[in-house]
């Protein structure tokens, strides 16, 4: 099914058309700011060109969203399963509170990517950023895996205050030098062979989706950021 987004000024009507389509593949072109595309759906592939609105793939529960273009804010907000592929850049708060599934961003991400990601048993969300991430990457991260590849970046590909409030999960950053202002509650080390093998599959998948040479990733090492202990904020706010 093919949908011209410009025929729908109201996002509700557009999303209703997507939801009611019996086709497995829905193509949406000329998207201009319609919000919540693919919200809560599963079992479909949605291919989008243009600039979809905020909260693309919010509550996504399976299937795939492919975007050729830039995403705005809060992509994959609270998504549970499925895959969002952005062949472009992302606005702020990509992967906000996601609890499952994968978001791959070919280019750069804005502020607060992966804020409050969480994990539970086999539900381990993954956010991969091909370029640079803005400040507050992984703020309040409670679980899941964030990977920043820094492709094309000359300096450490994250902004200020990376990992602030992090208390679970992992952040991998491909870079020469660690961010200068990591909070004391976060520890960082060079990723070991074992660490890297845990993300091997994800990196292959990312490279395949966006035709990135896997070899290019090998010419720089990865750092791994994790919270300092099970309860790194003990006594930070209250005596506990």
């Amino acid at each position: 099914m093919k949908i011209h987004a410009c025929d729908y000024t109201d996002f509700r009507e557009l999303n209703q058309a997507v939801g009611e389509s019996a086709d497995e593949t829905v193509v949406i072109d000329r998207c201009v700011g319609q919000r919540y595309i693919g919200c809560g759906i599963s079992g479909k592939e949605i291919q989008i060109t243009g600039t979809p609105g905020n909260a693309l793939g919010a509550y996504l529960d399976g299937g795939t969203i492919r975007l050729k273009g830039n995403a705005q804010d809060a992509t994959g907000d609270t998504m549970n399963d499925g895959k969002i592929l952005i062949d472009g850049n992302s606005g702020d708060a990509a992967g906000y509170a996601m609890r499952g599934g994968k978001i791959f961003i070919r280019g750069d991400a804005g502020y607060r990517a992966g804020i409050h990601m969480k994990a539970y048993e086999d539900k381990i969300p993954v956010l991969v950023i091909g370029g640079k991430a803005g400040s507050f990457l992984g703020e309040y991260q409670a679980g899941g895996v964030i990977i920043v590849l820094g492709l094309g970046a000359e300096k450490t590909p994250v902004g200020n205050f990376c990992g602030t409030g992090m208390h679970g999960g992992k952040i991998f950053i491909r870079c020469k030098r660690l961010p200068h202002d990591l909070p004391p509650q976060v520890k960082a080390r060079r990723a070991s062979a074992e660490d890297l093998s845990s993300i091997e599959g994800i990196l292959s998948e990312f490279c395949k989706e966006f035709s990135v040479s896997k070899k290019e990733l090998e010419n720089e090492h990865f750092y791994l950021l994790t919270p300092d202990s099970a309860n790194p904020y003990k006594q930070l706010y209250v005596t506990n």
């Binding site: 000024t9 996002f11 998207c31 201009v32 700011g33 919000r35 243009g50 600039t51 979809p52 609105g53 905020n54 830039n70 705005q72 804010d73 606005g91 702020d92 804005g110 502020y111 803005g134 400040s135 507050f136 902004g159 200020n160 200068h180 202002d181």
Partner: protein, 360 residues
């Protein structure tokens, strides 16, 4: 109706701006089409626009746009204006009756110059004389509100969705080198015509998305310098802060941004020595003008626009560039709607001002 300060309505907003670096005319239709895309960020309780370079035939005169609740307010205000200014031209602002915009006040426009004798007697410079007259009308004449007072620029605002407000004021009949727009979703305060954005004083105008936690601290400081905040709306105080720092204290817009969205002390600490001294001085000297809380704003000024985020970047902001035009908006889609093929699109960092001016 309960006005600002008498009622609290919790809330979002949309902002957009366009400027031609070569000063080429941009039709008002473009900015209306841009803000229309972000309809869902507003709730119909306010929309507005500022256009610069729109009154070339009167560019030496101040253009007052005034709301009047009653004919009596108009008569009283006009007596005041006649005492203090030479009126070159006056008329109702042309509007189009549409179902989406109702209950409009009387909306008048005056092109004026300060009365030479009054100005000389006041011992004030011209802009200060005009600003004080604006404050006097807005605080002392019941039912009269000067909501635009610059030269060769004008604000157009109302209660309604911004795209309807643009149609109401027939903005497709105006052309200017820059425009800003606002769609309102009132934060804490009710929507009324005077409370819509942009807020303007002299040539400065502000559109704002956000909520300022430091409002009262900022307001109390500004009142020491004669700026009377009569609307209890946070955006009003930003307008006065920009006017105070830029026009009165002579700070550059970059310096003004370093005051209102000052970097954290921890960030300043890591700067090179000279920059550290400069930023420390500005933070200490104007400590009460730090604006905290989430905001993205577009400041309109003579021959330019500035976009600025709070230092934590708690509101979205995107910049697009195409040939001589620069676009600024809350969302990329609002830019793509009027210019699908951009040379460049990027997001400014929190606290880093983006200033674009018309080439001289």
């Amino acid at each position: 109706m309960l006005k600002e300060g008498q009622i609290r309505i919790p809330s979002g907003c949309a902002i957009s701006g366009i400027i031609s670096r070569e000063g080429k005319p941009i039709n008002g239709r473009d900015i209306v089409e841009s803000i229309r895309v972000m309809h869902d960020r507003s709730n119909g309780l306010g929309g507005g626009f500022a256009g610069y370079g729109i009154y070339p035939q009167y560019k030496e005169h101040y253009a007052f746009h005034i709301f009047y609740d009653t004919q009596e307010a108009r008569e009283e205000c006009e007596r005041f204006i006649d005492r203090h200014f030479d009126v070159i031209n006056l008329s109702k602002i042309p509007t189009k009756k549409i179902p989406a915009i109702t209950d409009e006040p009387l909306i008048w426009r005056y092109f004026v110059s300060p009365h030479p004798t009054k100005l000389a007697d006041s011992q004030l410079d011209e802009s200060e004389f005009v600003a004080r007259c604006v404050f006097r009308v807005n605080t002392e004449i019941e039912g009269a509100y000067i909501f635009s007072s610059g030269k060769n620029m004008g604000v157009f605002k109302a209660v309604g969705f911004p795209e309807d407000v643009g149609e109401f004021y027939r903005l497709d009949e105006y052309e200017g080198y820059s425009w800003t727009a606002h769609g309102r979703y009132p934060t804490n305060t009710p929507g009324w015509w005077g409370g819509a954005h942009p807020f303007a004083l002299l040539n400065y105008s502000i559109v704002h998305n956000g909520e300022i936690s430091s409002y009262d601290a900022n307001r109390r400081y500004m009142e020491m310098f004669g700026y009377r905040c009569s609307l209890q709306t946070d955006t009003e105080v930003i307008t006065y802060i920009i006017d105070y720092l830029s026009r009165k204290k002579g700070l550059s817009l970059e310096e003004t941004a370093n005051v209102i969205a000052a970097p954290f002390w921890s960030t300043i600490e890591k700067k090179p020595e000279e920059e550290k001294l400069r930023l420390t001085y500005l933070r200490n000297k104007f400590a009460s003008l730090l604006i905290t809380g989430p905001f993205s704003i577009i400041v309109g000024f003579e021959k330019g626009l500035m976009m600025l985020n709070d230092r934590l970047k708690l509101r979205s902001a995107v910049i697009g560039e195409k040939d001589d035009r620069v676009y600024m908006a809350s969302e990329e889609s609002a830019i793509r709607a009027i210019e699908p093929e951009l040379d460049k699109i990027w997001a400014p960092k929190g606290g880093n001002p983006v200033i674009v001016t018309v080439n001289e």
